[in-house]
Assembly symmetry: C2
Homo-oligomer: 395 residues x 2
């Protein structure tokens, strides 16, 4: 009687959410401090002070209509200009305000981009494992077929050969996510260059541009001076999907953007298609107050060092205990190889020690679990004993 | 190369927006005070003080994660409970928090509801003229066929016979909007009862429930003690789509809800379908700060009396000049009969006197124009001279 597909998507909890809900119930029994919940990717670092200051100042200096009134559908022009200016200063790019369409976060950005690109049920959208599971929902929701490319199991960069085999004349977009959820890896410049070369070659072969959609909510969450290549400088047919959820710790506020550079093939037509997709999906404009807040907070981030400390405690601690860990260069997730090889069984076993670790099968990467370290530092320290017991259980 | 449909929706400006943009250009030439822009439906009354107070208080008393963190997909439970309690107290209903799904405004509510309900391309969604033109975009965007039922030209209630002919086994939903944009009319209790009786009869005939989607952003914008029937009390298979854009003057903030009552057929299944549709369309949760703001502002409204004063000046003023006007009982629009019968020609002629009046053809109601009186009162007073000249031009 209803959309069967929407009923499925609404009634089946994600593996992550399932684990989180289990953790809440367990916490009620044994106490929250005795449950080591590494399941969710919710930023624990507070929003930088500039966010609250911006809100307070806006409330005092602007009228109700200026603060809360409709903005144009693509977002306030001054806000878009502030973002363009910031990116140009930071990355040496050459954007202007009309390259930007403000959105209600990264999920909205991705959905709008997919709906803008997808024309027929034969269209395909490719994601590279390990990938964020919601990409499948967004892609299928846009009417496309979702295609997963197997991971580069050595370095968690891109398996370029596998990607080359997957791209065909039906491919509308290839999604990348770097810094990566769930692996914590940052694609190197070499990887981006190889990707660009491949996509250029494939675009010629199939006779039309293969767009690259780069999902970048973790762009500023990087450690040790690692550089995150700004993808539009490497491949022209790139659509950037950004969100302030992680950098400004505003995940509930739903604020981000789609960036369609002038250099992208049929840039204006694509941009208008994005506008039409936003209209189609019921997005009238991005939240007005938050548009102004992010404009005032360009270049600001929350306390990344807190995530770094967590990363170090976790990485060093687990390695000492014999775990094989992928060293995270960005985001706030660590990929840990499952003892015994079966990540779902490993995740189940971990629960016996009240460790909540997400099996990465749903991310397209069996054999690994994702450990989110956007958590209380003290919890990581407390958890090492449980990790020790888990390791022991496999000896 | 892209979605042709999305490109169309993104590149074709609405008649309303076209007129508004013309008005801005004209204002640059003759001065804004000399352009009588009745085109847009943007609330001019500021948000009630309680909104700013709520924001300031929340910033002071809650942590960053409490304010800006993800809420559950359907919205914070305490927020939903506050809304349920308010509706129950006000309308004598019996809702609980799990009847509510918080959304990014009415457009989001409608799109999510349609995507939840629509299963196949044969499905139909019916709107009753005059109707808000975006319903067509939302309905077609969900994959359904959009069906318009001709207006009740006498009273702008519902042409029940015409509606009865339009409902068939493909009908997934009938949309109503009362208080109405663009007519300003409020459906009487008798109309709602007749509608319910018809839909009950039709549901039996076609063998499945015909859902009623009631789009209610103007519910609190009513004058003269007019009662707006709470539709769920009359027809059980009702889905309420609400927004705080107009009542709290927060159109840019994108905050509202979908209400699926327990009494609706397959209520839990429908609710989960709504959740899945929200997920499909990229709506992770409604903006978190605003969820808390509206919870604290239940029962509050902006200064409705300001709209009423405008209405009175406009209605009385135009009637004295010989215009035939539909008396508005709610919302902030007035329907005015076009001199000469051709509303598009009338709208063009009005521009000669710098009057911007939207031809209601796009709302399914040729022969009328929509005059938005959510404007500066002084502008209405100044405009009467121009209206006089326009009337003179037709004598």
């Amino acid at each position: 009687m209803f959309s069967e597909q929407c009923y499925e998507w609404g009634s089946k909890r994600s593996v992550i959410r399932e684990l989180f809900e289990y953790g809440k119930q367990r916490a009620a029994v044994v106490g929250a401090e005795n449950v080591y919940d590494f399941s969710l990717g919710n930023p624990t670092v507070p929003a930088p002070d500039e966010v609250g200051e911006a809100i307070r100042d806006i409330l005092v200096t602007e009228t109700s209509i200026q603060i809360h009134g409709y903005t144009s559908a693509q977002g306030d022009a001054a806000v878009r200009k502030a973002i363009a200016d910031y990116l140009n200063q930071t990355y040496g790019t050459n954007f202007h305000q009309d390259n930007f369409y403000m959105t209600c976060g990264a999920a909205a950005s991705l959905c709008i981009a997919f709906h803008a690109l997808v024309e027929s049920p034969e269209d395909e959208i490719i994601a590279i494992a390990p990938y964020f599971p919601e990409y499948k929902v967004f892609a299928e929701g846009s009417g496309a077929k979702f295609v997963m490319v197997k991971p580069d199991m050595e370095n968690f960069q891109i398996n370029i050969e596998a990607l080359g085999e997957a791209v065909n004349e039906h491919t509308r977009a290839v999604i990348i996510n770097s810094p990566n959820n769930p692996s914590g890896v940052v694609y190197t410049e070499e990887t981006i260059e190889k990707l660009a070369a491949l996509l250029n070659k494939k675009s010629s072969e199939v006779g039309h541009p293969v767009y690259l959609v780069t999902d970048e909510p973790y762009r500023e969450i990087v450690y040790d001076g690692i550089q995150v290549p700004f993808v539009t400088k490497y491949y022209k047919d790139t659509i950037v999907c950004y969100s302030y959820s992680k950098s400004l710790s505003l995940p509930g506020e739903r604020i981000g953007y789609i960036l369609v550079p002038d250099e992208a093939a049929e840039s204006r037509r694509l941009y208008l298609s994005v506008c039409g997709a936003g209209r189609k999906l019921g997005y009238v404009c991005a939240p007005s107050l938050m548009q102004q807040v992010v404009a005032r907070c360009q270049g600001k981030v929350g306390d990344i060092n807190a995530y770094k400390e967590n990363r170090d405690i976790l990485y060093d601690g687990l390695r000492k205990l014999g775990y094989e860990c992928v060293h995270p260069d960005g985001a706030f997730y660590m990929f840990v190889k499952a003892f015994g090889g079966d990540s779902e069984a490993f995740s189940e076993k971990a629960k016996e020690f009240d460790l909540l670790l997400v099996a990465a099968d749903g991310f397209g990467c069996p054999g690994y679990v994702r450990v989110s370290y956007c958590v209380d530092k003290a919890m990581i320290e407390r958890s090492l004993g449980a990790f020790a017991k888990l390791a022991e259980a496999y000896r």
